[in-house]
Each structure stands twice: as structure tokens, then as C-alpha cells.
């Protein structure tokens, strides 16, 4: 085990993948000479040569479409979109080709590519540099959408993303790039679709992913002082979605708050809330609440803290979970064969 930042863990994952698999190539804007704006690809060109990591001109749609072609010829490209919003010029390629190629060819073409995005805010960036764009991709069948919250997960999930036969949209929370954690290197790919219970609790489940996980954990600590015992589930992957872990937790706690940094309306939080009520309706003692970014374009730095769902807002939601009522568990009794 070594202590690495998430940025270093991602860099290490790329290095290990390049070393172990000759088909892995990395490219994007300024990923070579500069090593990427966030230095995720630092030193790859120097250490593995231009063949394995190269700079492209400024042309996102070209970059992603180019990766499609490389996949068709047997490679495993890992491309970088410099920031969340700079991926929009490539949206056509992602949605119309990357996501649909396999289905369109009845499985004849696989696109084992990874599109990496530094995403979300909290670093005093602005519009275009702080977007949470995961819902656009998660809404598109054919894409897997992943967002790590720890260096170890960043390593394992990126390794899995590169090995995965499907195209993966890999969302890296920039606010966590410099957060440190223990990482096993070289390590194993972390299978998709397995949410992690980051903290166990009995009263309420907070569900989060990526940048919102540390917020949920802090809120859970603070809630302890208020007498609530809070469980925190980190989804890790949005698609595939781990219904089992989520439902198991909420059935136990009976209360649920979904925390996402993206805008709330029609976001991933809405999907989580819907799935929870579909599966846990009879265990719920309160409506599933969402805490999210506000439904406005990402604001200038001075008002960023108002936009972001912080600890206070999470606690506020927890406080509103109808604590006066006892959860109605009569259905449980009947499910067990009637009251004893």
C-alpha cells in the first residue's frame, strides 16, 4: 500500500494499463508535453513514448470519433476531455456513435474506450469548468458511467474501465484530485456495479457518488452529534447501478437522502430516488429527499458555496425526514406470516 493522491492514483492506473496491455493508447489536448491540465497523464509520453500517449489538436469531436475508429481496429484508447464542458463538442460522437455502435452492429463492434472527464466544481472554477454532466451520459443507453470518490477506487475503477468491453465515461471529481488515500499498486480492476457502504448507520441512508461522498461523510459525522446514526453509500458507478446495496441499506434505515452536486431537476438523484421508492416503499418512514446543486448555470466563484450541496444542506434534509413518526413496519409482520 502506498499513499497517493487521486491524481497520482489515476496516473498510476494509466501507467499500469499501458505497461500490461499493448493496445492501450492515451491521447487528448495537452496530455503529452504538458501532462494534462491536472497532470493526470504526467510523464506518460516521456516514459512510454509518443506512440502510447500523444497530444491532439483542439478538436473534441475529432478526438472521440478517432477513438471509435481505433477501437474498431483493436485498440483500447483512453481519451481526455480537458474539462467537463469541453466534452460537449464531442457529444454527437459520444451519443450517436460511441453509445450505439454495439447495438447497431448486433454486437459485432465493441468499443472498449474510456473518455475521461475532470468534472464538477468546488475549486473556484466557473461555468464550463465546473459542470456535473453525468446525467447526460447516464441517460444514454450503451455507456457506462463511473465516478470514483477515493484514490483506491480511482485506480481500480480506471483499470476496470480500460479492461471493460464497453465504452466508459469516467468522471473524475476535480475537487478530490489532491485528496490522499492508500492505494495498492499495481492493483486489480475494481468490478463495476458494486456500491460501497462507506459508513454504517441505522437511522438514515445517504446516497452519493464522486464529489458528494466526502460531503455525505462529513454530514454523517455532524449528524452523530445530533443523535442520528447515518449510513453512507457510495455508488461508485452510476451505470451499472447497484440496486442491491442501496435497497438493502434503505430497507434497514427506512430513510434516504440522495446527495448529488449536479442540478437537481431530471438528474441522477431523481433516478436514485425513484429506484429507492420502487424497491423500498414499504420500509420508508419518510419521502426520499434530494440534495443537489441549484437549478441554475454553475455560478461565479463568489456564490459557488451557495450552489454546492454542503454539509448544512444535507443535515437540513436529514432533519426533515419526519422523525416524529415511527416507520410503519406492519407489512413486515404480514410478510412474515401475520402478527404473532
Amino acid at each position: 500500500m502506498t499513499t497517493l493522491t487521486m491524481a497520482q492514483a489515476l496516473n498510476t492506473a494509466l501507467r499500469d494499463a499501458i505497461t500490461q496491455d499493448d493496445d492501450v493508447v492515451v491521447f487528448g489536448e495537452d496530455v503529452g508535453t504538458l501532462g494534462g491540465v491536472f497532470r493526470i497523464t504526467d510523464g506518460l509520453t516521456r516514459d512510454f513514448g509518443e506512440e502510447r500517449c500523444f497530444d491532439t489538436p483542439l478538436a473534441e469531436s475529432g478526438i472521440v470519433g478517432f477513438a471509435v475508429g481505433m477501437c474498431m481496429a483493436g485498440f483500447r484508447p483512453v481519451v481526455e476531455m480537458q474539462f467537463d464542458a469541453f466534452g460537449y463538442p464531442a457529444f454527437e460522437q459520444v451519443v450517436s456513435h460511441v453509445a450505439k455502435m454495439r447495438n447497431r452492429t448486433a454486437g459485432a463492434v465493441q468499443l472498449p474506450m474510456v473518455i475521461r472527464f475532470p468534472y464538477a466544481g468546488g475549486i473556484g472554477g466557473v461555468e464550463h469548468h465546473s459542470d456535473s454532466s453525468e446525467a447526460y451520459y447516464a441517460h444514454t443507453p450503451g455507456l457506462k458511467v463511473v465516478s470514483p470518490s477515493t484514490p483506491a477506487d480511482a485506480y481500480g475503477l480506471l483499470r476496470q474501465a480500460i479492461e471493460d468491453p464497453d465504452p466508459v465515461v469516467f468522471m473524475e471529481p476535480k475537487a478530490l484530485y489532491w485528496a490522499k488515500g492508500e492505494v495498492q499498486t499495481p492493483g486489480q480492476p475494481l468490478p463495476f456495479g458494486r456500491a460501497a457502504v462507506r459508513r454504517e448507520g441505522t437511522d438514515v441512508t445517504l446516497i452519493a457518488y464522486g464529489p458528494s461522498v466526502p460531503v455525505a461523510l462529513k454530514a454523517a459525522d455532524a449528524a452523530r452529534e445530533e443523535g442520528w446514526d447515518v449510513e453512507v453509500v457510495d455508488l461508485r458507478t452510476i451505470t451499472p447501478f447497484d440496486d442491491d446495496t442501496v435497497a438493502r441499506s434503505v430497507r434497514r434505515t427506512g430513510r434516504c437522502v440522495v446527495v448529488t452536486e449536479s442540478h437537481g431537476f431530471a438528474g441522477v438523484g431523481a433516478e436514485v430516488a425513484a429506484r429507492v421508492q420502487e424497491r423500498c416503499f414499504h420500509s420508508l418512514a419518510a419521502p426520499v429527499l434530494r440534495v443537489s446543486g441549484l437549478d441554475i448555470p454553475y455560478p461565479a466563484p463568489k456564490l459557488e458555496h451557495t450552489y454546492l450541496p454542503g454539509v448544512d444542506r444535507v443535515l437540513d434534509a436529514v432533519a426533515r425526514l419526519q422523525w416524529d413518526d415511527e416507520p410503519d413496519t406492519r407489512w413486515l409482520d404480514s410478510a412474515r406470516g401475520g402478527a404473532a
Binding site: 489536448e29 495537452d30 508535453t33 504538458l34 491540465v37 497530444d55 489538436p57 483542439l58 478538436a59 473534441e60 469531436s61 475529432g62 464542458a85 469541453f86 460537449y88 463538442p89 473556484g124 472554477g125 466557473v126 461555468e127 464550463h128 469548468h129 437537481g264 431537476f265 429527499l289 441549484l294 437549478d295 441554475i296 448555470p297 455560478p299 461565479a300 466563484p301 463568489k302 456564490l303 451557495t306 450552489y307 454542503g310 448544512d312 444542506r313 437540513d316 434534509a317 426533515r320
Partner: protein
């Protein structure tokens, strides 16, 4: 239509004869250049002192280009720029205080602090925005040029559009889509590639198959021309000729100005991809002292005049910083005011600490 380079390529441009210019004009160019220089240096400093947030791209090294282009552009014309837009805003007449306040994110900024450094905008000055997305400005600028054709006939007094873009931006699809549209529809627009030899850390030669970027106009039968971006008069002349073609013939043009970016891509970029020698060479080519010496040589200025202009610029910028610093922050309550023109029924406008669900209205007989 032929593309051409004025003078010799790159650093070997033949400079226009300054004696043909009214001294007051030249003096004013130097004044504007020093104002932009002073503004950008202070913006750099304010960013480092965390007074400015977000991202901040400076026109350092491009002052002569900015002033040359903006002297050719008439008040009635429209301007679209990249995110490297501070100098253009100042030269277009936006108040330095309001521009600095926008950088600071203050409510007295040109867009109440909502746009920030990359999105300076002023409808009155017909500055239709800086754009933070590479290439984002090019199709809108082209559309604006089409709109002008509905409003008036071609002629020397017609309005035109100028659209700025960086060298790296010529590789994005929007550039090619737009040039084609402008050419087939004969639009009154001048595209200007501000070639500072780098797109972030990537050189023109590494990014563009035809590194003489003005030649890309050929594919659209659009006149292309390359000028010395370190010479405001040369830039003005080339831009004026292109604007005249746009006004009188509705013939779009592609102009390329050659200059250097003195510092990193943005304030936070240490530009490690540039060698020490290269950085020194770029500093030696700084257009500001070069233009200053030329003016002194031509007898337009003496050292005292130049110093007076420089001090005046410093003073103006100090006032702008003071204004920005003392201006009020934007208010949380205004956060939802601008996303939509009309109220969107049931849209969440909930701020932190407000109830998740509105309390049931008594008149509806709600429980509790």
C-alpha cells in the same frame, strides 16, 4: 482568391512608415497599449491575491494586435472575441472599473459578476461577448453577420462583424463550418486569427497541417492575409481593408496576426513547456517597448511623454482595482434572476435552509 502575406513572413514584416500617421493617433495607440499592459499586470496580481477567481487569460504580448484591430473596428460594428478578452473590452471603451469588477465577480461588473473574465459583454459597445468554449464564438458571429444583411445594404457605411479566434481554434469544426457559411452566403464578417504560436502548450506546427493559418481561407475562396501583430498600424490597415471588403462587397476575410503570448496560457499556467531561451526570446520581442522606441525615434514621443502615459495608465488601473475592491459582492437572493426570462412554474428556487417542500397553504386545507 489569392492569399498573401504582407512583407516577409513572421518577424520579417516590413513595418509601415510611421511618419505618414498623425502623431496624436500614434500617441493614442501607445496610450491604449500601456493601459492594457497595466490592466493585465494588475489582473495577474489580483488573481494571485485571490481577488479574482475562476480562470484568467491575459492579452500580455498582444497589446499591439488588440489596439490595431480595435482602431479599425467602427462603433457601428460588432465584435465577438475569445476568452482572452480584457484588452478588447478596454479598447472598445468599456470602463476599466466595470471590467475589473467583472473579473472580481462583483455586482458592479459589466455583467454583474455573472460572466467573469472570459465572458466580457456590453451590448451598447456592440461587444457581443468573450466566449470560454474554444470556437464557441464563431458560429454566433457568423449568424450576426447574416442578420446585418437583412438590416441594410452593402456600402462604405454598412455594419460588419469581427470575430476573433486563436491559432489552436482553427482546428475545431465550428471554424470550418462557419467560414463555409460566411463564404456561400456572402456575409460581412472578418475572422481574425490571433496567432500567438501556442494553443495552451501545443505549437501551431504540431497542431495544424497548414501552419500558415491564413491560407485556410483558400478552401472557402476567402481572401487571407498575415500581418505583424506587434505593429498596431499594420494590423489596423489590414483589418480596415478586410472590413471594407465586408461592408462594400459582403466578402468575408480571414486575417492572421502574428504575435507572442508573453506568459502562460492563463495566470495559473507556469508554461513549463517553453524553454528558458524561448521565454527570453519572447520577452525580447515584447511589442510594447518596441513600439515605444519607434515612436521616440520618429519624434512622436519623448521619454517624458511616454512616462506620463504609463503613469496615467497605472493611475487608471489603480482606480479600477479600488472600484472593484470596494464594490459589493453579488447577492444570493439574485441567483435565480437570470436563468429564464419568464417564470418557470414549479421550478425549484429553493435556497439552502429553505423548506424542501413548501408548507401547506392553509387555504387549501392542508393537514397540520
Amino acid at each position: 482568391m489569392a492569399s498573401r502575406t504582407k512583407g516577409k513572413a513572421d518577424s520579417g514584416f516590413a513595418p509601415p512608415d510611421l511618419r505618414a500617421e498623425p502623431p496624436a493617433t500614434l500617441r493614442d495607440y501607445y496610450r491604449q497599449m500601456t493601459l492594457i499592459r497595466a490592466f493585465e499586470l494588475r489582473a495577474n496580481e489580483m488573481y494571485r491575491r485571490a481577488k479574482i477567481g475562476g480562470y484568467c487569460h491575459l492579452n500580455l504580448g498582444e497589446e499591439a494586435t488588440v489596439v490595431g484591430l480595435m482602431s479599425a473596428l467602427e462603433k457601428r460594428d460588432y465584435l465577438f472575441t475569445t476568452y482572452r478578452d480584457h484588452g478588447y473590452a478596454l479598447a472598445r471603451g468599456l470602463a476599466p472599473g466595470a471590467v475589473m469588477a467583472e473579473l472580481f465577480g462583483k455586482s458592479t461588473g459589466v455583467s454583474k459578476g455573472l460572466g467573469g473574465s472570459m465572458h466580457l459583454f456590453d451590448a451598447k459597445a456592440r461587444m457581443l461577448g468573450g466566449y470560454g468554449i474554444v470556437g464557441g464564438q464563431i458560429p454566433p458571429a457568423t449568424g450576426a453577420a447574416k442578420a446585418l444583411t437583412y438590416r441594410g445594404d452593402p456600402g462604405p457605411d454598412a455594419e460588419a462583424v469581427m470575430c476573433l479566434l486563436g491559432d489552436g481554434t482553427t482546428n475545431i469544426g465550428a471554424f470550418h463550418e462557419s467560414l463555409n457559411l460566411a463564404a456561400i452566403w456572402h456575409l460581412p464578417i472578418v475572422y481574425v486569427i490571433v496567432n500567438n504560436r501556442l494553443g495552451m502548450g501545443t505549437t501551431v506546427e504540431r497542431a495544424s497541417a497548414e501552419p500558415e493559418l491564413f491560407k485556410r481561407g483558400c478552401s472557402y475562396r476567402m481572401p487571407g492575409e498575415r500581418v505583424d501583430g506587434d505593429d498596431p498600424v499594420a494590423v489596423r490597415e489590414a483589418a480596415r481593408a478586410a472590413l471594407t471588403r465586408a461592408r462594400t462587397e459582403r466578402q468575408p476575410s480571414l486575417l492572421e496576426t502574428m504575435s507572442y503570448r508573453l506568459k502562460g496560457h492563463s495566470v495559473v499556467d507556469p508554461a513549463t513547456y517553453r524553454s528558458r531561451e524561448e521565454s527570453q526570446r519572447v520577452r525580447d520581442l515584447d511589442p510594447l517597448p518596441a513600439f515605444r522606441s519607434r515612436l521616440i525615434e520618429a519624434g512622436v514621443l519623448d521619454d517624458d511623454d511616454a512616462k506620463a502615459l504609463e503613469e496615467e495608465a497605472e493611475q487608471q488601473v489603480a482606480e479600477a482595482v479600488d472600484f472593484a475592491d470596494k464594490s459589493p459582492d453579488p447577492q444570493v437572493k439574485d441567483l435565480f434572476n437570470y436563468a429564464y426570462a419568464t417564470d418557470v412554474a414549479n421550478a425549484s428556487r429553493r435556497l439552502p435552509a429553505e423548506p424542501v417542500f413548501p408548507v401547506a397553504d392553509d387555504s387549501t386545507g392542508g393537514a397540520s
